[in-house]
Every structure is written in structure tokens, then in C-alpha cells.
């Protein structure tokens, strides 16, 4: 977690500069349903959040256990009481509330036991209460596993106070309900209490950008079964005066920075029963997952692979070539259904090959299964995707949401991901670029964190070879080379087009004044090579005249016109996921009776420690002009401190690339 260290000083700064909201500074927060203090109607947001649409006056959660009279086993009870003040009409959406309830295909389910909600308005010094009525409660059966209970409150206006209080009982005790202490509006008080019977041991995962207070950690008496004395552990977490959480561009996942806590079952220990360790430590997690039919079981069923490998493998004893053939075979025969998971949906790869489609685990575990059957050292690597957020680092399985493959060949480790057809051997999808993964060594049932930083960048090169004519048209050739992630993007664009005509239409649409002929592509299917497109071009409307001057921006369609980093401050790291390199060479031959007035100056711009650079140069040889521009962003992530240097680098790119070549017509 490098960012945590980096950010700590900044965090302190922010907390102290945020203007606290008036009232209730030191007094104990009172939270009885329906009991509204007149001064609550005077509360307003202030400081950086002064124009917030609503404010959370408090948000109180309580989670504890009891024995279900029906199933006779433990269920958790989750109570929440939240009160908002609506500050303007944008905040009206808080008056619609939705609770999702899950039910499994078996008997297990979640039930909303109780719900109360009301709106309070202060009219001429008198508070009126409007309770939610029965016509304003709805049950949406989303599908057979999910129900939404929906509520909409009456009489909501600017200045209204609204509150919801409800209770859920749930059979799903593997993960207890988590809690977020910060939201898109400011929060005055957020508190979560959790009481866990001695029979259960849960992992507490805290994450986010702000420290959360932990005022209560105590042992309490708790009786769950009549005549059996037992104890429980109670913990309380509190956050006060949280500012609104705001998004920034080039971020992996905003939720990585939201202070929150969640829970995963580590072990159970019931009297008279064996101690049952679910996922208490990494070795436990590794063992459990390798024993699971939808992971280890699936990995080990080698018959289907064995039968097919004969036709896949080449006779020569080139392991890299063979691994590539297996990778290609998997991609050719299985199609990703757009779902991420680390458990396969089936228990045998054979079934997936019959279905021809599956989730990421179905595909990648099948890949590992084939590789292992062919005697490769191939391992699953658990991943938390960028959309899923950063894994907290300690042993929790449910924080992952994907699995990829790692294979060791000739001392090199390659990461493989069979979810996209156009990825070359060793490249993983953008979503997996979350910096690290957890490798499971299937042989000795161990595991450990491994860096998944990619060696592939987003690399493109554009080569223009042009002649300028007297009608100010540029004619010649353009060749584009795409490698790494740029290759994937370019191949995707080509394949997603209806046909080549459609592709060219899109190409022209993005480049004003371009006419093209003789379009050719190379290496569409040779994924280890650069994807190349070449064409004859005629460029209109690019060279301009002013009196006897003729001028143009030499980088043509490749000019970076705007700085992508526009904001004045930065709190979170800038995460591009992978390095970027953009290279452009332009040759222009000018007409005999034109002469070059004066060329712009070239330049080299480098970030400290050479973590990024920009070079531009201009040369002439007779009537030929050569312009070269190279942009290199060497790292995938930059700290907030590096933000300003990076912004300056882009500013230099924008400014220098805008400089014009000026020609004079001889008279």
C-alpha cells in the first residue's frame, strides 16, 4: 500500500482544514426515531461542501447475532438508522430508498423485518411529521435471487429532514454487512457497532483514506441459547464530520479511498464441535480454494486436456511455442461471457468446452489446467480488478473478483488472460492492471503476493511521408504501428467495425480533411507483432495561408491539443494502469518555390529521475523537412506529488506540438 504512506501528511492537512459543520460539536448524538431537535433544521453544510445537496445528520449501524427460530442456526441482525437534511432539490433522490435483499436457490435468505421512515418539515415554527404510507412501499422482484424493497417519502422539500430506520435478518453470515463512513454528501456522524459471538471469528478489513476512530472494543455477556452462558466481542467505529467524497480523473477506483470496514468469516468454534477454520490465514485460504470443486477440482480434472493436447502441441521441443499454442487454443474455443470471478461455474473444463463460453475463471483455470497437463509450471493468480478496487493485503478471499494465469518458462514469468482474443501471449486485460495479485502455488499448496505490473505499454508510432503541393494539399503515405495495449485497442476497433468500409469511415470521421486509398493492414492475427496499417493519404484543410505565408502544425492528426491533467490540485495518485509511448515522424517535401521562413526550436523535456519525457526535433535536408516527436510516460502510477511535474510535461507537449512550420512563397 505505498499510497497510504505517501498520503498521510496530506490527510492530516485536509481533516484540519475542513470546516466543521455547526452544532452538535461535543454533545452526544441523540438518535431516537422521530425525535428531531428544532436546531437540526438550522444545520447547513459549510466549507468546501457549502453547496452540498443534502447532509447526513447521522448514520448509525448495529450488527449482532441471534438464533433463528426457523433454521435453529445463527443469523445476523443488521439495523440501520440514517437521517438526512435535504438542502436543495438535487438532494430529493435521498427521499427514495432502496434495500436489496438476496435469496439463494436453497433456503437461505435475507428478510426485511421492519422499516420505518418519515419526513419532517418546520412550518412557521411548528414541526410537522409525515410518515411513509403503504402506497409508497414497493417490492421489485429483480430476478429469482434478488428483491428490492423500495420506499418513497411524502412531502419532501428543500429544508426537510428525513429518516429511515430498518432491520434485516440474514442467513448469509460468511460476509457480515460492511459500513462506509464517507459518501457523496457530507456526514456529521457515522457509527457502526458490531457484536460477534465467541463462536465466530471474523476478519475486520478497514480501508480508505481517513483514519476511523475505534472507541469500543470489549467483551460482553451474551446468551444465544437458553441456559448456555456465553460471551461476545463488541466493537464500535466512529467517524465525525466527514467531507463529501469527490471523484478525480485517472483514478483506478474511488472506493479505494472511501473509509470503510467489512468482515469475512475466518473460523467457527462451537462447543462440542471441531474447530472450523474457513479462511483464517493465507495457507487456509489456499487449502480451501484448492479443495473447492470450482477451483482446485476444476484445475485437476485433466482428461479433457490430455485428449486434446495431442493435436495442439507441436512436435518440436519448444516450450514457449507450445505454451502459445495452448493459449491460442483456449482463446479460439472459449468465449468470455463478460463476468469476472475466481470460481469457475462448472466443475470440469470439459463442460465449459461444450458450452463454449464461461466466466473469467472458467477460461483462465481451463488454460492453467491445459498448461499443467502439458507439464508447464502454471499457477492461478487471484486478482482484484480495477473496478473492484485494491485488495487490502491481508487474508480475505472475498476481496478478490478475478483469476488469471502465471506460467514460468525458461526463468521468465508470463501472466496470461484468455478473456480477450487479441491479447498477445503475456498480456493481461486493463481491468487486471491493479498492480499486484496473489499467486497460488498448486504444487506445494502455498501462496504469496506477486507484482503484476505489465511490461506492455500503450505504444503507437505514426509515420507520415508527404509532399506539399501548391494547392496546399499534403499527399503521400501514412503508416501507423500499434503495439501492446495500443495494439489491442486498434485490433478491437478493426474487428468491431461492420466491415473495412465501415472502419475507414470511422477513421476518416476522426480525421478532418483526410482522404485515403490503398488501405492495408498487417499482423491482424499475428499478435506478437505490431499491428500495422498503411495507406495513401491526401490531406486537405490543414495547410493554411496568410498573405504570402503558408503554415501548418506539423504533427497533423497526432497533435495533442489539450492537457489531460487540467485540475489545480490532486489528492489521489494518477493511475494510467500501464506505461505510454507515442512516437511520431513526419517528412514533408515542400514545393520548389516555397522556402522555409524559420523553423521552431526543438527541445527535450524530462521528468525527475526520467520517469517521463518528451522530445521534439526539426531538421531540413534540401526541400525535405523532418519532424520527430516522442512522448514517454514510463510508469503506470504517479503520486499526487508527481502530479504537478506530470502536468507540466503535458503542458510542454501541448505548447511545443502547437508550434507551426511557416513557409514563404517566393515572389
Amino acid at each position: 500500500m505505498p499510497y497510504k504512506k505517501l498520503l498521510l501528511p496530506l490527510v492530516m492537512l485536509l481533516i484540519t482544514t475542513v470546516d466543521c459543520v455547526q452544532a452538535q460539536k461535543n454533545q452526544k448524538v441523540e438518535y431516537k426515531f422521530g425525535k428531531i431537535q428544532p436546531q437540526d433544521f438550522l444545520i447547513n453544510a459549510s466549507g468546501i461542501d457549502s453547496a452540498a445537496s443534502a447532509i447526513k445528520l447521522f448514520d448509525i449501524g448495529n450488527c449482532y447475532f441471534e438464533i433463528s427460530p426457523i433454521s435453529k442456526s445463527f443469523v445476523y441482525v443488521y439495523e440501520r438508522h440514517v437521517r438526512y437534511k435535504i438542502l436543495n432539490k438535487n438532494g430529493y433522490n435521498y427521499a427514495n430508498y432502496s434495500i436489496g435483499l438476496h435469496k439463494s436457490n436453497s433456503e437461505s435468505k435475507e428478510v426485511l423485518e421492519f422499516m420505518n421512515a418519515a419526513t419532517y418539515n418546520m412550518v412557521d415554527g411548528v414541526m410537522t411529521t409525515s410518515k411513509i404510507d403503504k402506497d409508497s412501499k414497493f417490492t421489485e422482484e429483480v430476478n429469482k435471487n434478488t428483491v428490492f424493497k423500495k420506499f418513497t417519502l411524502p412531502n419532501v422539500k428543500e429544508g426537510s429532514i428525513i429518516e429511515y430506520k430498518y432491520k434485516i435478518k440474514s442467513d448469509f453470515i460468511f460476509n457480515l454487512p460492511g459500513w462506509s463512513f464517507q459518501s457523496e454528501i457530507p456526514t456529521l456522524w457515522s457509527e457502526y457497532t458490531i457484536t460477534i459471538p465467541e463462536y465466530f471469528d471474523y476478519k475486520f478489513n478497514r480501508s480508505g483514506y481517513y483514519e476511523i476512530a475505534h472507541p469500543v472494543h470489549e467483551k460482553v455477556n451474551a446468551s444465544y441459547v437458553t441456559n448456555v452462558q456465553s460471551s461476545a466481542t463488541r466493537d464500535r467505529y466512529v467517524a465525525e464530520n466527514m467531507p463529501a467524497l469527490k471523484d478525480e480523473p485517472f483514478i483506478s477506483n474511488l472506493d479505494d479511498y472511501r473509509p470503510s470496514i467489512d468482515f469475512e468469516l475466518r473460523s467457527t468454534n462451537f462447543p462440542g464441535q471441531f474447530f472450523n477454520d474457513y479462511t483464517g490465514s493465507w495457507p487456509k485460504i489456499v487449502n480451501a480454494i484448492l479443495d473447492d470443486d470450482n477451483f482446485g477440482g476444476y484445475l485437476n480434472k485433466g482428461n479433457y486436456a490430455k485428449n486434446n493436447l495431442k493435436t495442439i502441441l507441436s512436435l518440436e521441443n519448444d516450450s514457449l511455442k507450445n505454451a502459445k499454442r495452448i493459449y491460442k487454443y483456449i482463446k479460439d474455443n472459449l468465449k468470455w461471457n463478460q463476468n469476472y470471478h475466481y470460481y469457475s461455474t462448472e466443475t470440469n473444463p470439459k463442460t465449459i468446452f461444450e458450452k463454449k463460453t464461461g466466466n473469467s475463471a472458467d477460461l483462465n483455470l481451463a488454460l492453467i489446467n491445459f498448461l499443467r497437463e502439458a507439464k508447464f509450471n502454471a499457477y492461478p493468480v487471484l486478482i482484484s480488478t480495477r473496478s473492484n478496487g485494491k485488495h487490502p493485503g491481508y487474508p480475505v478471499i472475498s476481496k478478490f473478483d478475478n483469476v488469471i494465469a502465471a506460467v514460468e518458462i525458461g526463468g521468465n514469468v508470463y501472466f496470461l488472460d484468455a478473456t480477450a482474443k487479441d491479447m498477445p501471449f503475456g498480456m493481461i486485460h486493463y481491468e487486471n492492471l491493479n498492480h499486484e495479485g496473489f499467486l497460488i502455488n498448486v504444487n506445494d499448496k502455498s501462496g504469496g503476493w506477486i507484482s503484476t505490473e505489465t511490461s506492455f505499454g500503450d505504444e503507437s508510432m505514426h509515420v507520415y511521408q508527404l509532399t506539399l503541393d501548391k494547392e496546399n494539399k499534403l499527399k503521400g503515405t501514412l503508416t501507423n504501428y500499434f503495439n501492446g495495449y495500443a495494439g489491442l485497442t486498434a485490433r478491437n476497433a478493426y474487428r468491431n467495425a461492420i466491415n473495412e468500409e465501415d472502419y475507414l469511415k470511422n477513421l476518416k470521421k476522426s480525421k478532418n480533411g483526410l482522404e485515403l486509398h490503398n488501405f492495408k493492414i498487417l499482423n491482424l492475427d499475428s499478435l506478437d507483432e505490431r499491428f500495422i496499417e498503411s495507406m495513401d493519404v491526401e490531406i486537405e484543410d490543414h495547410v493554411e495561408e496568410a498573405g504570402n505565408l503558408v503554415y501548418f502544425s506539423p504533427l497533423l492528426y497526432e497533435q495533442t491539443k489539450e492537457n489531460p491533467l487540467k485540475h489545480e490540485e490532486r489528492i489521489f495518485p494518477v493511475d494510467f494502469a500501464h506505461p505510454i509511448m507515442e512516437n511520431c515522424r513526419v517528412v514533408v517535401i515542400i514545393p520548389d518555390d516555397y522556402e522555409i521562413d524559420k523553423l521552431p526550436k526543438g527541445g527535450i523535456f524530462k521528468l525527475p529521475e526520467n520517469v517521463g519525457s518528451f522530445t521534439i526535433s526539426y531538421q531540413t535536408e534540401g526541400k525535405a523537412l523532418l519532424i520527430k516527436s516522442i512522448v514517454t510516460i514510463s510508469k503506470s502510477t504517479y503520486s499526487p506529488e508527481e502530479y504537478f511535474d506530470l502536468k507540466e510535461l503535458f503542458a510542454a507537449i501541448v505548447e511545443k506540438q502547437a508550434e507551426k512550420i511557416v513557409l514563404k512563397k517566393k515572389i
Binding site: 474455443n333 485540475h567 524559420k598 507551426k660
Partner: protein, 631 residues
Amino acid sequence: MIKYTLSIMFVICSLFLKGQSTWDIAKIPDDLKKDAIIVIRNEEQFLDIKGVNAAKYDYKITATIFSKAGDDFAVMEEVYDKFSNIYNIKAVLYDAAGNKIKEYKNSDIKDQSLLSDFSIFEDNRVKRLKFVSNTYPYTIEYSFSQDFKGLLYFPQWRDIKDFGMSVEKSSYTIQKDKNYQMKYLSRSGLQVDSTTTAGKTLYKWNSNHVAAVPREPLSIGINNVSSWVTASPNLFEYDGSSGNFDTWKNFGHWIYKLNAGGNNLPDAFKIKIRDLTKNAQSPHEKMAILYRYLQQNTRYVSVQLGIGGFKPVVAEKVATINYGDCKGLSNFMKAMLNEVGIQSHLVMIGNRKPSLNEQYSSIGQANHMILAVPLKNDTTYLECTSSYYPMGFIGYGNANRKVLLITEEGGVLVKTPVYTAEDNYQISKTKITFHNENDIDVLTNTRYGNSQFEDNLRTTLLEPSEQKKKVLEYSTIPIQTFGHYKCEQKDKTKPELEEEIAFKSKPLLSKGGDKLFLLLNQVNRKESVPIKIENRKTFFSVPYAYQDIDEINFELPSGYQVDFIPKDIIIDSEFGTYAATFTFKDGVILYKRAQKMNDKTYPPEKYNEYVDFYKKIVQADKQKAVITKSM
């Protein structure tokens, strides 16, 4: 020669030996493959109308998907509700040669709730099945039956449903008792086979061998290219209600009746609004007070259940809960007006849809409700779901179209107000002051009117920090240091926003040797030209008429001189007009630009002219002045 014959023989033999599956792609004629992502091999719709409140519908489709771009179509998504149960679903996947790859089971089909994005609750559901194939082309096939209990409209039919789709065979058959009254509307020129035997009438529409049309920009749709039928009942029963859709008059009558008794208000509330309006001098002023009350005290919440999709929630209820959908809020406003002696009419309207068809009254053409208040001199239309619109402003989605007034005598077709290009203005004045080459102050004042007011209204609702982000991200002039931003509706009775932006700009003069270039249109540039299309097929239009008038004052730093300034530009066409003028006087460059666009619908053959017009504008917006620094 021998080789040639042999290969032909071989082809024939292999055909003979293997035979050809029905859905082999080799059977698709070549001209139907051109520009097609999807080929509908066969589609059959059959509607058997059993009576005024029941019908059975059978549907079947087989379609071939040629590339990744067609995957989105490889899905069954059939909507139903408690009045239209779907059953007997069958689905099959074939490979390119037409071999059956997979037959789907009932457990593969998902049953999900379906909500419009503006609703919190509706009773529509969807049966969904996604077909997945790893190779292209592939063919999908599915069929189902649906029983309708109560009929407000019949399923529609259309042969090509989108660009990039061709059709081998498609048909729609409606069977009814010969005395059963119904009507239909179809693309002009489309033939119908109509036969009557043994007391039953059959209508049948066919479409065979229709080539695909590649996607066309700015298109208003493929209605003039595809064959289509929309059919609907006259007499109907639905969710305990019945009526006649034979004329708009009767249609309106049904809605009027549905709403009977819906105009009462609680007594205490009546006193309250009389009190609110007691000092008002005119009906107009009373209406203004009540509309303001509506905007301050209610909010839009959409719930659509059965007949509730057409029948407004009673005003009495809205008065106690203060929320509702477009119908509930319009009706509540109507009840309030009624209480203070002002008559008004509910209006059924196609928001962002075409005008109601004068000749053809059916449900589904309207999707929204507003309120019309006829006062002495003119009629005011009220959009009751907006908390922000000034009274009488209804937005371009409601403007300039035929709508249905719901009156005591039944429905009456009228037209809503028009916003002209001059009404939908953006007028900006910018001052760019160069203290030196790198120290530049920019101040822009802009007024947005009517439709452009509507487009920019969201900005006024953002928090200042978000407004700043937006300015930093979207300013056409690059920002060095942010100054201030204000955007407000100063006069709440007028659909106009006033915006002010101030900041220090990054260097604006781009270098080229010892010359400096100044792009003169810094604020409102058109930069991309739609591409030309040969043989365009569909009509096109501009979403709304508008007029942009921009003016920029460049105050140059001392010691700089202007070597070149472009000549004035005027472009005139039937699509609109454009004028740019450039002057230099006393160290100040004055740039003025005016663009006015019409909102007509244009025939396909005009399109390339439109592109030429646009191209000239893009050229004109790129004009630069050449500046040198005197030594």
C-alpha cells in the same frame, strides 16, 4: 479447362453428399450480405384476436449474426406484464453451416423486472436469453407465445429494425372476427393481403429480400426505408376499463372519464390555496403563484402500474404526499387552478416523439402529460414535472407538436408553441487582454435562451467545485489559473441563463519561426465535419433551431503588430446562415461570428450539400491572424 470442370463437379458432389441445412449461411444471397451485420432469415408474427379483451400472439425469428458488431442483437428480450403472459419459449443456436449447436433450456432463460430509467417502480418484466457463440457467423432462433388479457395496442412489425440489417423473409398476420373493428397504419405503398373466410378476416403483410442500409449520420430514422405496420383496436378493455380509440375525440373522452372524480382537494388545502392567491390581481398572477407552489412543494416520482400508466393519481392524494409522476402532478395543478376558478386541460403529448398522427388515434404515440391553461388572450402550457422551468416554458421535447387536449367533450388536437432559432440563442461577449505574451486575462459573458437555457440548466445545479471542474475540463480556451464562474437564472420568469467565466489563459499565440499565429475564434468552434455519403437513404435534421452570436475583443500587448487579418466570411444556405467579420483598430482585434441553424427535416439527397455547408463553417472557424513582435 479440365481442372475447371472438375472443381465444379466437386462442388456439386459435395453439395449432393452433404446436403445443406436450412440455415446454412451459403443460402443467403450475396446482395443481402453487403453492409449487413445481421440478416433476418425468417421472422413471423401472428396475432389472433379472440375478442375485445383477448388475443394470442405467436412469434418466431431466425437471424444470422456476421460479426462482433452484431452480438448485441443476439439476445431475446421479450417484455410482458400480468396482462400478457409469455410461455412456450424455444431457442436454438446454429453454427455457420446451419448445424444445431445448442438448444436452450427453460432454466437458461432469465426472468427479470424491467423499469424505465425515470421510474422507481413499474410492473413490466422481461424474459431474457443471451446467445453466445465463439465463431462468426452464427445463427440464432427463438419463438414464443403470448396471451393478452385486455388489449390497448397490438404488437408492431418492422422488417429491417436498424441500419446494417437485411431481411430474407418477414411477415405479420393478424386474424380477427370479420366484425371486429380495428385499424392499422403502414409505410406508404406497402401492400396488404386481406382475405375473409368463414367469418374470419386475415390481414397479411410480407417483406422479402431487403438489403441492408449502412449507418447514416444525423438520421431521423429508417421509417422511409423499412416496411412497417402499427395496428390497434377501436373498442378495447384493459384492467377493468373500456373505451373506444376510433377517433382522438373518443380517445380523449376515455382519459377524461378515467380521471373522473380525480380533481377533489382536501378542504384544509382548498383554504390554503385560496389564501395563497387572495391578493392576486389576475388569473395569470394566480396561476404564477400556484405554479410556484407546485415547484417548491412537490417532486417527481414515477410509479406505473396497470391502468395507473394512463390514469392520474387523484389530486387529493398528491395534496397529502406531494409527489407524483407527470400525470399526477399535472392533474394536481389542474385541481389547484380549478379551486381558484381557472379552467385547464390535461394534455397528452409525445415528448421527444413526433406529433400525434391526426388521422390515426392510438395509444403509444403519447408518452407524457402536461397541462394547458387557456386564459383570455392565449394558452399557457405548464410542464409540471420540472422544479426549475419558468412558467410557460415547456422545453424543446414538448414544443412545436400536435398534442391532445383532454376536455369534457373529448379529445381535441392542438399544437404547442414553437421556439424559433432566434428564441434559442447563445449570445457571448469575450474580452481577451494580453498584458504580455504569457499573461492573458479572459472574461466571457454568455446568455443562453430557451432550448439553450434548457441544455445548460444542469450547470446551475452543480456544486461550485463541480462547476469549476467542468469549466476546467470543457473550456475551449486553455486555462492557466481559474478565476471565477457564475451561472444563474437572474429573472426566474424568463428561460434565460447568464454565465460569467473569468480566468488567466495559457499562451494563445502559437509560434512558427518568428511569426505568431492567433486563432481568432477562441470560443465557439465547429471542428469536425460529418463525412459525405453517396446514395444516402434516410432523412436528416438538426435537433432544434438555434442562433449563436459571439464576439471577441483581443487587446494585444504593446509592441506587437498585426501582419495579416482574414477577410470577412459570409455563408448562406437553406440549412442556415453564417457570418464572420474581422477588424483591427487601435491595437484591438474585433472578431464577430453569427451562426443560425434551421430545424427543418431534409431529404436524403440534400445531405452532401449540408456537409459542404458545414465544411465551410469549419474552415471559417479556423481563421488566424498573423502577428509579429516589433524589434
